[in-house]
């Protein structure tokens, strides 16, 4: 892939979204009341995950 050198300190490169609209006014975490756009795509991605893959994840303790 061809890449162009870029200015690494340029704050304009930030790609941030606007704050999401709050779904509740009261304090305390809560489950959203309405279905979020993109939720179905995320659920499809989740459904493809091998339900037993955690058993195959055999890691050594590191630091």
């Amino acid at each position: 892939m061809t890449t162009q050198p870029i200015e690494m300190n340029d704050p304009l490169r930030r790609e941030e979204k606007n704050n999401p609209a709050p779904d509740r006014k009261d304090a305390g975490p809560s489950r959203p009341d309405v279905s979020r756009p993109g939720r179905d795509d995320l659920l499809k991605r989740m459904k493809k995950v091998d339900p037993k893959q955690s058993e195959k994840y055999k890691q050594r303790t590191g630091q």
Binding site: K17, P51, Y57, K58
Partner: protein, 485 residues
């Protein structure tokens, strides 16, 4: 904010999918490491760095960072970065260097690189280490300062934690010094906001394995020890969210500056930081109540508000990074009470919690279902086609601090403004030469020449290194016996 140097070290987990893959996970890690260096993206060490780091165990990359094997894990250490945007970019570049190797080996379907910190079956843990260069004048031996830093680190997990299902109840080593002996009965935990909280039995300690501490007190500056100190923290989680990585490191750097200025408040100190860390992480109601040293009650959220307000009063306007940190810090603290969905793409534990609860609702599953553990892992999969975090980028929910083109560039080019720039120049040259070399963070030596020291991480040394290399015969074959004599 004062000029800082930042760095992140990431130990990756490795998952072999399917039962008939020809290699085990340690063998795969070795082959991935070899592939990275075979394609000349770096140069392998020719010398022992330690007893467990023989020649060929790892090496420096053309971007100034390092890839190596550490206790069976493939690990990437970012180059030294002078600002948060570079830090996030080079952290992500390391992820992509490793993931690219998986795909170039043709193992994209069989091997998953998992950027997390815990094996949910065995509770093995592995780290994400943060590095901050501060002045030697930083009063690190002052325990009050360390306790204020510990209070910050314990409570920052409400936005820096990566989240995990279940819990681990490791017991501390009883015969070591300064161990917190508090034992907790096994308790049923569905979800907690930190991956590492269960694995930190001490408030302060110098070692990095088993007896981990909230504040690691090892003094290894990797620079001029008369001028600098490197604060090395292992208490945090690996973040998938770019926003979370930047806020975690940025808010910690800001907090250190408040301590240096002498304006941090001893009233922030917790009564028992180790047990509070676990209690916050495991609180199913996300209320995060804490007891302060003076006996008063507060919450992690309130303490963090006091800290950001202190930063606003004393540091606002001091740099672009500082202003970004204060604004981002306030935004997450404001949104935390609104619930996990309001934090999607900014806070990893909240993003994961929201996804898992939505999935459980859709599939009628409980927290104890093995599928939920597997989905927890998948949140951290670096494969963009599979990993759940990348689904948030696809839906536009991930808050970014860099770009894909910047990350691509950072895989092969060192950051500006630090000695990594000079090191990158050196490694690029050595990748095409025959000469013998010994490289470390603080300098290098070629053939029988005198060592070239790079003791100030704020200096690039690039021109000096170019001039130095121009005066050497770099095609002189490497002679091990002569080099190490």
């Amino acid at each position: 904010m004062k000029r800082r140097i930042y760095g992140i070290e990431t130990e990756y987990g490795l998952l072999i999918n399917g039962d008939d893959f020809k290699y085990g996970s340690v063998d795969v890690a070795v082959r991935l490491k070899n592939h990275i260096f075979d394609k000349k993206t770096g140069v392998l060490d020719l010398h022992y760095r330690a007893n467990d780091e023989p020649p060929g165990n790892g090496g420096f990359l053309v971007n100034g960072g390092r890839v190596y094997l550490d206790m069976g894990h493939l690990e990437y250490a970012s180059p030294e970065c002078s600002n948060l945007t570079d830090l996030v970019t080079y952290d992500r570049a390391g992820d992509m260097v490793v993931q690219d190797a998986v795909e170039e080996m043709g193992w994209g379907d069989q091997v998953s690189i998992i950027k997390n910190n815990v094996d949910l079956e065995t509770n093995a843990t592995f780290g994400c280490h943060e590095n901050y260069l501060v002045s030697r004048a930083f009063q690190f031996d002052n325990r009050e300062n360390l306790r204020m830093l510990a209070s910050f680190l314990v409570t920052r997990q409400i936005y820096a934690g990566a989240g995990r299902t279940g819990a681990c109840n490791p017991q501390p080593f009883r015969d070591w010094d300064e161990v917190n002996h508090t034992r907790k009965e096994q308790e049923q935990v569905d979800f907690q906001i930190s991956q590492r909280a269960d694995h930190i039995p001490n408030e302060f300690y110098r070692w990095v394995q088993y007896n981990r501490a909230i504040v690691n007190t090892r003094d290894e500056p990797l620079s001029d020890p008369s001028k600098y100190r490197r604060i090395h923290l292992l208490v945090g989680d690996s973040n998938m969210s770019e926003f979370a990585t930047a806020l975690k490191m940025g808010s910690t750097a800001v907090l250190m500056e408040l301590i240096e200025l002498g304006v941090s408040d001893p009233d922030w100190i917790l009564a028992d930081s180790v047990s509070t860390m676990r209690d916050i992480s495991r609180d199913p109601d996300f209320k995060w109540e804490v007891t302060l040293r003076d006996g008063k009650r507060s919450t992690a959220l309130e303490l963090q508000w006091e800290m950001v307000n202190c930063a606003k009063e004393h540091l606002k306007g001091s740099s672009t990074d500082t202003d970004w940190v204060i604004e981002a810090w306030e935004s997450v603290l404001t949104d935390i009470p609104k619930g996990p969905e309001a934090l999607l793409g900014r806070v990893d534990w909240a993003s994961k919690y929201w996804m898992l609860t939505e999935f459980m609702k859709a599939q009628d599953l409980s927290w104890q279902d093995p599928w939920i553990k597997s989905l927890d892992l998948e949140y951290h999969n670096l494969n963009r086609q599979k990993g759940l975090y990348w689904g948030l980028e696809e839906t536009g929910d991930a808050w970014r601090r860099t770009t894909d083109s910047a990350v691509e560039h950072a895989k092969g080019t060192a950051p500006k403004g630090t000695r990594a720039d000079g090191r990158g120049e050196l490694v690029k040259t050595l990748a095409q030469s025959q000469t013998g070399y010994l490289i470390d963070w603080i300098g290098f030596r070629l053939n029988k020449e005198e060592p070239f020291l790079m003791l100030d991480p704020f200096i690039s040394y690039k021109k000096e290194i170019r001039d130095y290399l121009n005066n050497l015969d770099l095609q002189q074959p490497y002679d091990r016996d002569s080099f190490f004599r």
